[in-house]
C-alpha cells in the first residue's frame, strides 16, 4: 500500500480524480429511476468540474512517476480545461434538454475533459497517447451525436478514420523513438538524444508530433476539421475544437522543452521551423475561409488559424512568458469560440442549418443571440477591445520580442507580421457570418419566432460574453498567468 502511494501520489492528481468521480456519478445517475434522471447528468458533471477546479487552484507540483508531470503548464491547463468543461456542460444542459441520450452526452464531454487533463500533464509518450486516445474516442461520439442524421454520422466516420490513421502514425513514430533511445518518457528521450541519435529517431519524433499537430489542426493535418465540424452538432464542435487544443498545446510545450535537446536540432532552426509551420497554417486558413459558405466551416478554418497562433507562441519557448501567452491566447479563444458555437446551436435549431443561406436574417428570430454571435465572431477576429485582441497581443509580443532580438530568429518576427496579415484577411470571413445573421433579410419571411432560449443556454452565453468583453481589457491577465506558472 505504501509502495503504491509512493508510485502514485494521489494528492497530485486530485482534480483528475474528482472529475473521474463525476464521470462515474453521471453514469450511475443514469441507472436510477425517474423520468428526470437524464437532467441530472450535466449538473453532476458541472459540480465535479467545479470541485476539481477548486482543488486545482492550489495544487502542488510534482511528478507521477515518469508518466505525468504536474508542472506550471499542466496546472495552467487545468485552470483552463475545468471551467471550460463546466461551461460546455452548462450549454449542453440548455441546448440538449430534448435529447433522449440520458447521461451519455455529459459522460462524453467529461471524458474529453479527462483525456485533456491527462494529455496536458503527460511527460511520457504512453500517457500522452492514452490521453489523446481518450480525447479522441469521446470526441468521436460527440461529433456523431445526432441520431438519424446522416451528415453527423458521416462527420463521425471521417473523424474516426482520420483520427485512427493519425494515431497509428503517432504510434509508429513512438516505436522508432523507443527503438533508438530505449525511452518513452520525454526526459529520458531528451537525455538520449543529447548524446547523439540516429536520423531515424528524429523522424520518429516528427511522426509522433503529427498526433499533436492533428489535435491543433495544423496544416497539413488540418484537413479533417472543416468536414467534421460542418456535419457535427455545434456543441460537439465546441468540445472538439477547444479541449483537444488546450491539451495538445500543453503537451507540445512540455515535449519541446524536455524531449528536444539542442544537439539534435539547433534551437533557432527549430523555432523557425515551428514559426513557418504556424504562419503557413494561418495564411492557409484565412484565405481558404474566404470562400466558405457555412458558418461551421468558417469556425473550423478559424480554429486552424487560432491553433496556429498558439503554436507560434510555443516557437518562442523557452522565453519567459511564452507559455503564458499561449495559455492566455487559448483562454480568450475558447471563451469566444464556445460562445459563438452555442449561438450557432440556438440559431441552427431555429433555422435548420448552419449554411450562410439558412442563417440569413436570423436576427428576426433571435435578435439577442444574433447580436452576441457577432460579438463573439469579432472577438475571434481580434478586434479590440474584445478578448481575442489581447490574446493576439500576448502572442505577437512574444514573437516580436524573440524575432527582433537577434537576426537568427528573424523568422519569428516575419511570422508575426504574417499573423497580422492573416488577421486582416480572416476578418472578412467572420463578416460573412455577420452579414448573413444580422445584415440580411430572411429568405422566407416567417412570422414564427425561434422558440425560447433555455435558461442554462442564456447563462452559458452570458458567461462567454462577460469573458469576451472582460478579458479584452484585462491587460495584466498575461502577467497573472505567467505568475501562476
Amino acid at each position: 500500500m505504501i509502495a503504491f502511494a509512493e508510485a502514485f501520489p494521489l494528492a497530485l492528481v486530485r482534480p483528475e480524480a474528482a472529475l473521474c468521480v463525476g464521470l462515474f456519478a453521471i453514469l450511475a445517475s443514469d441507472l436510477g429511476p425517474g423520468a428526470d434522471r437524464r437532467r441530472a447528468g450535466p449538473w453532476l458533471g458541472i459540480a465535479a468540474a467545479l470541485v476539481a477546479f477548486l482543488l486545482a487552484l492550489d495544487a502542488p507540483s510534482g511528478a507521477v512517476g515518469t508518466m505525468l508531470a504536474i508542472d506550471g503548464p499542466a496546472r495552467l491547463a487545468r485552470l483552463l480545461i475545468l471551467p471550460l468543461v463546466a461551461l460546455l456542460l452548462l450549454a449542453g444542459a440548455g441546448e440538449r434538454r430534448h435529447g433522449t441520450d440520458s447521461g451519455a452526452w455529459s459522460t462524453a464531454v467529461v471524458g474529453v475533459g479527462l483525456g485533456a487533463l491527462v494529455t496536458a500533464a503527460s511527460a511520457n509518450f504512453v500517457s500522452a497517447w492514452l490521453g489523446l486516445e481518450m480525447l479522441a474516442l469521446a470526441g468521436y461520439s460527440l461529433v456523431a451525436f445526432r441520431g438519424g442524421d446522416r451528415r453527423a454520422a458521416e462527420a463521425g466516420m471521417k473523424f474516426v478514420l482520420f483520427g485512427g490513421v493519425v494515431s497509428g502514425v503517432m504510434l509508429f513514430g513512438i516505436s522508432h523513438v523507443y527503438g533508438a533511445t530505449g525511452h518513452l518518457d520525454f526526459a529520458g528521450i531528451g537525455q538520449a538524444f543529447a548524446n547523439g541519435a540516429p536520423t531515424a529517431a528524429g523522424v520518429g519524433l516528427l511522426l509522433a508530433g503529427v498526433g499533436v499537430a492533428y489535435k491543433l489542426t495544423l496544416v497539413p493535418v488540418h484537413f479533417y476539421a472543416p468536414d467534421v465540424y460542418q456535419g457535427s452538432p455545434p456543441l460537439g464542435v465546441a468540445v472538439v475544437s477547444t479541449l483537444p487544443k488546450i491539451a495538445a498545446a500543453t503537451a507540445l510545450v512540455r515535449f519541446l522543452s524536455m524531449a528536444v535537446p539542442a544537439p539534435l536540432v539547433d534551437h533557432a532552426t527549430l523555432a523557425s521551423a515551428i514559426a513557418v509551420l504556424a504562419a503557413a497554417s494561418m495564411l492557409f486558413a484565412s484565405f481558404t475561409a474566404l470562400v466558405q459558405r457555412d458558418a461551421k466551416r468558417i469556425i473550423a478554418f478559424s480554429g486552424i488559424g487560432h491553433g496556429a497562433a498558439v503554436v507560434l507562441a510555443t516557437a518562442c519557448l523557452p522565453a519567459r512568458d511564452a507559455a503564458a501567452a499561449a495559455g492566455f491566447y487559448l483562454l480568450t479563444y475558447v471563451g469566444s469560440n464556445v460562445g459563438a458555437l452555442v449561438c450557432l446551436s440556438v440559431l441552427e435549431r431555429a433555422t435548420g442549418g448552419s449554411g450562410l443561406q439558412a442563417l440569413a436574417g436570423s436576427w428576426r428570430r433571435h435578435p439577442v443571440v444574433s447580436g452576441l454571435l457577432c460579438l463573439f465572431l469579432l472577438s475571434l477576429a481580434g478586434v479590440p477591445p474584445l478578448a481575442g485582441f489581447l490574446g493576439k497581443w500576448g502572442v505577437l509580443q512574444q514573437a516580436f520580442a524573440a524575432g527582433l532580438g537577434s537576426a537568427t530568429y528573424a523568422t519569428l518576427a516575419t511570422a508575426a507580421l504574417l499573423f497580422l496579415l492573416a488577421t486582416a484577411v480572416s476578418a472578412w470571413s467572420y463578416l460573412l457570418v455577420v452579414r448573413a445573421v444580422v445584415f440580411a433579410e430572411p429568405a422566407t419571411p416567417s412570422a414564427a419566432g425561434g422558440g425560447t432560449v433555455p435558461f442554462a443556454t442564456k447563462l452559458a452565453l452570458a458567461i462567454a460574453a462577460v469573458a469576451t468583453v472582460g478579458l479584452g481589457l484585462w491587460l495584466d491577465g498575461l502577467a497573472v498567468l505567467a505568475k501562476a506558472m
Binding site: P385, A413, A424
Partner: protein, 539 residues
C-alpha cells in the same frame, strides 16, 4: 474622474442605459452624451484660446496595467481640444438628424454613443495602447451602423469599410509591440530637446510629462523615461526608434509606415480612398455626417499626434512625397467629384479633395501649413457635415440622389437653397466662410516652404477653381433654374428638426469664417510644436 475621462465613460454608460430606457428616450441619451462632449471640448478650446500653449491640459490618469505600463491617461492640447469639440458637435447634429430613427432606435443610439466614446478616446488619449484600442473600437459600432441601418448595398459597403480600415491599422499593432520591446525593462534616460522643455516643462513642480526633471542648470536637460505606452514619453525617445532595427529597416521607418498606412486609409488619401464612396453612399444620412465630419479627421489627428512626434526623422524624409500625395488627393478628388452623378458620391469625393489639404499643410513643415491643415480638418467637418445633411434632406423627399433628378428646388424650398448655397460656398473656400482660413493657411505655408512645396501649393490652387466648379455647378442644377420635375414643387421646405440640425452648422461656417481667431490661437502652439519636431527630424 476628470472631464476628459467623463467624455469616454459617460457615453458608454449612456449606451448601456439605452437598453433600459424607453425607445423614444434613447435619442435624448445620445444627445446628452454629445452635448457633454461638446461642453468639455468647448471648455478646453476656450482655455487654449485664452491661454495659448502647446502643453497638455486636463490630464487625467487611471492605472490600467502595471505589467505593460499602460494607463487610461487622457489629456488634450489645442489640437485635441478642437477635435473633441468637433466630435461632440457633429454627434449632436447627427443625433438631431436621426431624431425620427424608427428602426430599432435604442440599438441605433446606443451604437452612436459607443462610437462617440471611441472617437473621444482617440482624440484625448495620451497612451498609445489606449489610442490604438479606441482607434479600432470605432469600427465596432460603424459596422452595424452602416450594415444594418444603411441603404441597398449596405452589407458590402459595411464589410468593405471594416476590413479595409482594419487591414490598414494592423501594422500599428506590430509597431506598438515593437516600441515596447525596444525599451529596456528599467526604462532609459533621454536628453529632452530644448523646444519640448520650453513647451511642456512644469517649472513649479520640476516635472516634464509627470517625470522629474532638473531644470536648474543650463546644460542639456535629461529625464528618465519608464517603459510603457505614454505617448509623451514615447515621443521623447524618437532618437532611439531611429536607432533600433526592425527586420532590416529602422524601427522609426517601420513605425512611421504603420501609422501612415492606418491614417492614409482613414483620411482617406488616394489611392487608399476607394472604401469611402461606398461607405458614404450606403450609410444613412446621420452616419454619413459622422463619417465625413469626424471619422476622417481621425487619420489627420493620428499623423499630428503619433506619426510626426514619434518618428520625426522618418516623417521628414517622407514629407515631400506625402505633400505630393496630398496634392494628388486634392486634384484627383476634385476631378472625380466633377464627374459624379450621385450627390452623396459627389460630396464624398469632395472630402477626398479637401482632406488632401491637411496632408499638404502638415508636411510642408511650416507653422502656417500645419495650423492650416488642422483648421481645414475642423472646418471640413462643419461643411461636409452640412452638405451631407442637405443631401439627406432631398433624399428624404425624392428618394433618390441623382444630380440630374433635381432642378429649381429653390422655389419650393428657399431656406434649403440658401443653406446649400452657404455650404457650397464654404466648401469652395470662399473668403469670409469657414472653408477659407484653412486652405489659405495651407497654401500660404506651402508657398513659404522649402523644396518642391511652392510648386505643390501652386498646383493645389487649381482645386479652388475645380471645387468652385463642381459645387456651384451642382448648386445650380439642383437648386436654381426652372423647376424641372413638377412633382418637386410640392416638396416642403426644411422642417423644424432639419433646421435645428442645419442652422448651427451654417452659423458656425460664417462665424469661423469671419472670426477664425480663437480656433487658430488654440491650434497654433500645438501645431508649432509638431512642426518644430518635424524640422528637428531633418538631416
Amino acid at each position: 474622474m476628470g472631464p476628459l475621462t467623463a467624455c469616454i465613460v459617460a457615453p458608454l454608460a449612456l449606451a448601456a442605459a439605452t437598453s433600459v430606457a424607453p425607445p423614444r428616450a434613447a435619442r435624448w441619451l445620445a444627445l446628452l452624451g454629445a452635448l457633454l462632449t461638446l461642453l468639455v471640448g468647448g471648455m478646453a478650446i476656450a482655455d487654449f484660446a485664452a491661454r495659448p500653449g502647446a502643453d497638455f491640459r486636463f490630464v487625467d490618469s487611471t492605472p490600467w496595467s502595471t505589467a505593460f505600463g499602460a494607463s487610461f491617461t487622457f489629456g488634450v492640447d489645442g489640437i485635441g481640444a478642437a477635435m473633441l469639440c468637433l466630435s461632440g458637435l457633429i454627434t449632436a447634429i447627427a443625433t438631431i438628424a436621426a431624431w425620427q430613427q424608427d428602426k430599432w432606435p435604442r440599438v441605433y443610439h446606443a451604437l452612436v454613443l459607443v462610437l462617440l466614446a471611441a472617437m473621444n478616446g482617440v482624440f484625448t488619449s495620451l497612451d498609445l495602447l489606449l489610442f490604438y484600442v479606441s482607434w479600432e473600437m470605432v469600427l465596432l459600432p460603424m459596422l452595424p451602423l452602416v450594415g444594418v441601418f444603411g441603404g441597398e448595398q449596405r452589407r458590402y459597403a459595411a464589410m468593405k469599410f471594416f476590413v479595409y480600415t482594419l487591414a490598414g491599422s494592423v501594422l500599428m499593432l506590430a509597431m506598438l509591440i515593437a516600441l515596447w520591446n525596444a525599451t529596456p525593462r528599467e526604462g532609459r534616460s533621454v536628453v529632452v530637446p530644448h523646444h519640448v522643455v520650453a513647451a511642456h516643462a512644469d517649472a513649479s513642480h520640476g516635472t516634464l510629462h509627470g517625470l522629474p526633471i532638473d531644470l536648474g542648470h543650463d546644460g542639456p536637460k535629461q529625464v528618465h523615461v519608464p517603459r510603457g505606452f505614454d505617448l509623451r514619453h514615447l515621443a521623447l525617445q524618437a532618437e532611439h526608434w531611429q536607432g533600433a532595427n526592425f527586420l532590416g529597416v529602422t524601427l522609426a521607418a517601420f513605425g512611421f509606415f504603420a501609422v501612415l498606412l492606418a491614417c492614409l486609409v482613414k483620411i482617406p488619401a488616394i489611392p487608399l480612398h476607394t472604401w469611402l464612396p461606398h461607405a458614404h453612399v450606403q450609410a444613412p444620412t446621420a452616419v454619413s455626417v459622422l463619417l465625413a465630419g469626424v471619422l476622417l479627421k481621425l487619420g489627420v489627428y493620428g499623423l499630428y499626434r503619433i506619426g510626426v512626434p514619434l518618428f520625426p526623422q522618418a516623417a521628414a524624409a517622407w514629407a515631400p512625397a506625402l505633400g505630393g500625395l496630398g496634392l494628388a488627393g486634392i486634384l484627383w478628388g476634385a476631378w472625380a467629384a466633377l464627374g459624379q452623378r450621385d450627390l452623396k458620391r459627389l460630396v464624398a469625393y469632395s472630402s477626398v479633395s479637401h482632406m488632401g489639404f491637411c496632408l499638404l499643410g502638415l508636411f510642408s513643415g511650416t507653422v502656417a501649413g500645419a495650423t492650416g491643415g488642422m483648421v481645414q480638418a475642423f472646418t471640413h467637418g462643419l461643411s461636409s457635415g452640412l452638405l451631407f445633411l442637405l443631401v439627406g434632406v432631398v433624399y428624404d423627399r425624392a428618394h433618390h440622389r441623382r444630380v440630374d433628378g433635381f432642378g429649381g428646388l429653390a422655389r419650393p424650398m428657399p431656406q434649403f437653397a440658401w443653406i446649400l448655397l452657404l455650404g457650397a460656398m464654404a466648401g469652395a473656400g470662399l473668403p469670409a466662410l469657414a472653408g477659407f482660413p484653412g486652405e489659405f493657411l495651407v497654401l500660404g505655408g506651402a508657398f513659404t516652404a522649402t523644396g518642391s512645396f511652392p510648386w505643390l501649393g501652386a498646383l493645389a490652387t487649381l482645386s479652388v477653381v475645380l471645387s468652385a466648379a463642381y459645387l456651384l455647378w451642382t448648386l445650380l442644377r439642383v437648386a436654381y433654374g426652372p423647376l424641372r420635375h413638377p412633382e418637386q414643387a410640392a416638396f416642403p421646405d426644411l422642417d423644424g428638426r432639419e433646421r435645428l440640425a442645419a442652422w448651427p452648422l451654417a452659423v458656425l461656417l460664417v462665424v469661423v469664417g469671419l472670426w477664425p481667431g480663437p480656433l487658430v490661437d488654440a491650434l497654433r502652439p500645438a501645431c508649432e510644436l509638431v512642426v518644430q519636431t518635424l524640422q528637428g527630424g531633418r538631416p
